[in-house]
Symmetry: C2
């Protein structure tokens, strides 16, 4: 599945909630993004809204104005907001109908499946387009149990974990793959979320939509397949949530079942509480404490990537310096400065593994 | 769903693999167990095979010999072996057919669903019996996301975790509920496995068959429902697997999303490697190290229950003494001596919570 696409972000493009869209604006080998539909950011360039970098992706206020712009239509209309779950809101249903009528197949990561909505199914049939539910679980005969085969993998396996959700784990992992390649290392990414698939990921699975019994086996299968088929020097495994995220702790699967050799940890110093759970008073744990927890799983943290939400660049740089001193680890600002500063630590780990 | 039942254990009754059957022999409010079908242990009493205690449950070598014994038939035939997954073996299919033809509904915890097997479905229809797949996932509209409502629960919440699979977490939790009740505390169990449901559990869910995104919400929903409807002093949450079990690490969900106030930790000193993964060389972590890891999740371990597999009673008592001295915690042998020795620590925690 490949083609041109528009992204629907329902006025949320400028917020972290549109993280699916943000990933696709940053880059995708599966979908070529032509435009974003967002009433709040209409008239701007989507890249500039995202991180100030122009990317030639215009934002339109409506699907109608996109279709009238002379850019032509697109193959796919992608719901670009990560939802915590629940029903599909009426305004979304409206945009989905409009997309179908305009002849675009709809890609959805919603928990409620479009392909189980009778109205959408008949509308899609009438306009001969597809409804693609990225969260739809695989059938049981496509799933794998953990087998221990991971013990046969000899390339480096580095998990990109975070101290919270929506901090840029996927983006950091993607940047690391690119930076390693630029440095002559054969590197691959193991995606674990729907956006990773949308970006064209070949090895991976959608973690949160997998029946629990198969999660560890799917991680192992993705890494083993990638290792056998691509023979990389190193794979970067996209983490999910955080080890102590109250609404769904996650991470030990990558460390234990995926046998990670090292961790790059993404942390948002400008956030106090776990995202979305401010009302419960659940604070994000201190960075050093998270590193200690990862160590209890037998894995060393190799470096830190900072998410700069709620911080000025100068404050972010202060945090960077502070953590470098405190932890004696390389600390980078991926979006602002890239991740090249982490590559020596990655290479050091790879050379240790070869010994 | 309630009634009389036979348990099929296919020659494995005397091994830890028959843990589903073992749980039901120990006790169930849902099924009244009349007999066990097991060629290896035929002629013995199932309770004596299990732990040397006579329970008046005869073991027959075949379904035919049970039916000819004069005990009458049963409502249900239950597959009593916990499988790591995969296809249903031919010898099982044979026993399932025999059960159906004898007019018994079949209860299965297999990963392959009987209700999706056309031959079994038509055979069950012909004999007017039911096929009950305990592992069949709930539909999405029956599932819950984590909401933070757990913060409103004021009773004690104690997780019964283990340092490995199949060490007696469920049995220990059941014993703790009974011992607390005997001591005048209103206590309830939150089941998280199929056997817990088979034993008649009212509050809980089948962890490993739940789509990952809903695991934390289902834990919360079970505890919150139990708290609201029963107003207990304390709930005991059945753990699953182990925090660092390679084939499926598990436990942080109970600690973080279920907001456990304390842990009772079950440990098998007679085992060196994680069960089933001896070939990978993955060793079970030392007990003190597991307690440290649990502490990193903010939860205190209140006491230890020892699984005595591979140990003489005298060796088990040596370990008990050694751990008591090393950890300054109460240590019990649940099957041999009961769990009463843990109740003072539970009550101490409950009184701290009330302050």
């Amino acid at each position: 599945m490949q083609g041109t696409a528009i992204l629907l972000t329902q006025g949320l493009l400028h917020t972290p909630s549109a993280k699916t869209a943000h990933g696709l604006i940053r880059g995708s080998e599966r979908f070529q993004v032509k435009a974003v539909i967002d009433s709040v950011s209409a008239g701007k360039d989507a890249g500039e809204v995202l991180d100030g970098k122009y990317r030639g992706i215009p934002v339109f206020g409506s699907i109608a104005s996109f279709l009238q712009s002379g850019m032509g239509s697109a193959h796919f209309s992608i719901l670009g907001v990560a939802h915590a779950g629940g029903a599909i809101a009426p305004e979304w249903m409206h945009s989905i109908r409009e997309s179908i009528v305009a002849g675009m197949s709809v890609v959805s990561g919603m928990h409620q499946f479009l392909s189980e909505n009778p109205e959408m199914v008949s509308l899609a049939a009438a306009y001969q387009v597809e409804l693609i539910d990225v969260r739809k679980p695989k059938s049981r005969d496509e799933l794998h149990f953990w087998s221990g085969e991971i013990h046969s993998v000899t390339c480096g396996k580095i998990a990109v974990l975070g101290t919270d959700c929506a901090v840029g784990k996927r983006t950091t992992a993607r940047f690391l793959v690119q930076a390693c390649r630029a440095d002559g290392l054969k590197s691959e990414m193991i995606y674990t979320g729907q956006t990773g698939w949308m970006q064209g990921g070949k090895y991976g699975f959608v973690f949160d939509t997998t029946v629990n019994d198969f999660v560890s086996g799917e991680i192992e299968h993705a890494i083993v397949s990638c290792f056998r088929e691509e023979n990389p020097d190193v794979v970067f495994i996209e983490g999910q949530a955080a080890l102590r995220n109250p609404s769904g702790p996650c991470g030990s699967e990558f460390l234990v079942s995926g046998m990670s050799d090292g961790v790059i940890l993404v942390h948002p110093p400008g956030r106090i509480f776990y995202k979305g759970w401010e009302k419960t008073g659940r604070k994000i744990f201190p960075l050093a404490n998270e590193i200690d927890l990862i160590k209890m799983y037998g894995v060393e943290t190799l470096g830190i990537a900072l998410n700069t939400q709620n911080l000025s660049l100068s404050d972010a740089k202060d945090w960077q310096k502070r953590f470098e001193d405190e932890l004696s680890l390389p600390v980078v600002l991926p979006v602002e400065e890239g991740v090249e500063g982490l590559i020596p630590a990655v290479k050091q780990k790879l050379s240790e593994l070869k010994r």
